[in-house]
Symmetry: C2
Subunit: 427 residues, 2 copies
């Protein structure tokens, strides 16, 4: 006699689990995604209750709603662990100037750069920020992202950073995509502190972090899969290693998990510092040394690389993701969606970039966008793979083989998104 | 008193015409796309009857169906002038092997390469070929392609090339996208002629071309915007310049317009030969010399580059499209959709590649995917731009600025496709 469940997905040409019960995937395990041909999945109360061969799952479970995934791939919902999805303003014109070789100072003089996004974001109403970001989140969701990290970092003042937190909160409350929040008050030095960057770090440490943490603990209402994280941009024109350490330690005192933007342009030592503080992820890693790769491999932190940034800027240089994996790091991929360096909405295109320009296999790329990305947000035990007991975050994708997620490019083959057991159909 | 029309699109944040009444765009004209802010377009009987400022067009025309394009860009439907959309088989596994560095001979030994697609295509039924290709054409159409060239070239026998022509014909009859047909019987030397390539050229010249031309003239039923073209792959491991000349001349004798795959890997002289024969386009041009760029600039042929191929193979080398434009060539872009070297469905991503890796401006890229691509198919007087009298092939795109077509990437912002005056909504 079959058990009753809510939703049964069966007959998948490939059911791909990305299962990794012991933590994130590393080394040779990254090459395995766990493929069951003619696979099935049973869902009850928003959770996965069974995964396996269609015959077995259908013998054990019955459901009022069934999806025949014949000819299609069923895989975990994607997790995007690094985005700047909330912002105002438009930087397409600046991008055109950059591609034409306009010097950076001229772009700044024309009102471009990160501070142009800061100005537009400070001026924007909360409603406008939410409305714009919701459209972007909806595009991400349709393209398979069922859990998305969103950072602050275009406010750069107490008031404007809290406004960004509220915008992220509203998205988390009103969109089916799970949203995790990262405070990135130390994204850039705002113009008010141009001649006193340490003064801005004081503000971040003494006011923004405490107020943000208090707000998150007491006023945030969205159902959360993860606590708030604290991030910092450790780079030559942003924050030094010592300033970054102050920021992350202040975050830690308030219960915020450390993350870091490190080694995008210069290797300052941010990775080692962040690992000392127990960072859950180190992101960018374009110029990371072999020594720091070894440190990352020995840590529990996820190494997150962001090839859409290099692509957007027309670069032929990409982070050495192959070396990170070969060193034993647990690698994740992300869009880094932002208006300046990566207006990218598709983790499938990011997988395609990683396979083509970073020497990943399609399996490694898929693990990097699911289970490992979930661990980069501290939610790898709850979601990110198709395993009994986890959140039912599932994609039905109109491709015959999981390798097509990276192989075909430029369009969206996702036919159905199932988030926490609820089904959204797009094709 | 306003005239009655069928459909009025108004209030477009940008209406972009790509108008070029005197033929394809060249040189500085390629940098202009013709932007009207708050623009409108009136359509009657499938044709454009007016283009201009919203106030003017709305004062002159009324329509039972109106589209408010506020916040959006209205532009010509894209034209994809070089695709191999009809095929059977799957080469994602071969792609993975290639990226892992597997030698080409090992891939062939494992059953890969173009001949694997030939084998699968020969074995496939006509119905299966049509069914598979229709799904691909539908994806292209949703992503804005309203006119698409499709080549034969995976049959490589009289019977199988005619089967491919019939498949293309069925697509042309049953899908709203306009389809133009190109006979590419000389795509590769089939195994039966491995030791006698000239014997295969004889077959192409004496049997395949005449039979195909007769079939097209007498049995093809689809409404056509263009006559059939004849293409050849002039390359070291395919056909020599002299063999290619024989093929194109035979095509010409049967009324087929010459096109050529030239200079993808080696510059053999195919461009000069094809231009002598009045080619309407020369395609690939990865290693074209300055001398041949000058020849192209002085001809009426369109120079079509295909950066998705370089991207798919993980290359950092791309055709020097900037030099082609600067030399005075009329440049077009295409996906080159095919399973071996470009499983790409999105001309917007191709525009993005051209801006990032070939130094085009977003305006040049858009002209290359509309008016100039239409001229590459010989239909530039009928469609490819928003001008009164042309076919009403129009996109309403959910972006605030035409530069976003190339700027944001990986997803599809097309909200509505209007083909020959008929509206298809996707968002």
């Amino acid at each position: 006699m079959a058990c009753r469940c809510d939703l049964l997905i069966h007959s998948a040409t490939q059911l791909v689990t990305c299962a990794s019960p012991g933590g994130p995937k590393r080394g040779p395990a990254m090459r395995e995604v766990g493929v069951t041909e003619n696979g099935a999945l049973a869902i009850a109360d928003g959770l996965i209750v069974a995964v396996g061969a269609s015959d077995d799952v259908r013998a054990a479970f019955d459901a009022p709603r069934q999806i025949n995934a014949g000819g299609k791939v069923v895989c975990p919902g994607f997790v995007d662990p690094h985005t700047h999805l909330v912002y105002a303003g438009d930087r397409a014109g600046e991008w055109e100037m950059k591609l034409r070789g306009t010097p950076y100072l001229d772009i700044l003089a024309a009102g471009g750069g990160i501070l142009s996004t800061m100005r537009a974001t400070r001026q924007a109403t909360l409603d406008w920020l939410v409305e714009q970001a919701r459209e972007r989140l909806e595009v991400m969701f349709r393209n398979g992202v069922t859990t998305c990290e969103i950072k602050t970092g275009y406010g750069l003042s107490v008031e404007a950073e809290l406004k960004m937190l509220q915008a992220i909160e509203r998205l988390a409350c009103t969109h089916p995509c799970a949203v995790t929040t990262t405070l990135l008050a130390a994204h850039a030095v705002p113009p008010e502190f141009e001649s006193d960057p340490d003064g801005y770090v004081d503000l971040v440490v003494e006011e923004i972090i405490p107020q943000a943490a208090t707000w998150f603990a007491h006023d945030a209402r969205a159902a959360r899969v993860a606590p708030m994280a604290c991030d910092v941009f450790c780079e030559a024109n942003a924050f030094t290693v010592e300033q970054s350490r102050r920021v992350l330690m202040a975050g830690r005192r308030h219960g915020l998990a450390p993350k870091i933007h490190a080694d995008q342009f210069s290797s300052l030592g941010g990775v080692a510092m962040a690992l000392e503080l127990g960072a859950i992820s180190c992101d960018h890693l374009d110029v990371t040394t072999a020594e720091d790769r070894a440190r990352l491999a020995q840590s529990s932190a996820i190494a997150t690389v962001l090839p859409a940034v290099n692509f957007h800027l027309g670069s032929t240089q990409f982070a050495d993701a192959r070396a990170l994996i070969d060193a034993g790091c647990a690698l994740a991929l992300s869009t880094d969606h932002n208006p300046g360096s990566a207006p990218c909405f598709s983790l499938m295109l990011v997988m395609g970039l990683a396979c083509r320009y970073q020497k990943l296999t399609p399996a490694e790329a898929l693990n990097a966008c699911t289970i490992n990305a979930a661990h980069a947000l501290g939610v790898g035990d709850v979601l990110g793979s198709l395993e009994a007991g986890k959140q039912a975050d599932v994609l039905v994708v109109d491709v015959p083989d999981y390798r097509h997620l990276a192989y075909q490019f430029g369009v969206n083959p996702v036919a159905r998104v199932i988030k926490h057991g609820v089904e959204y159909a797009y094709r």
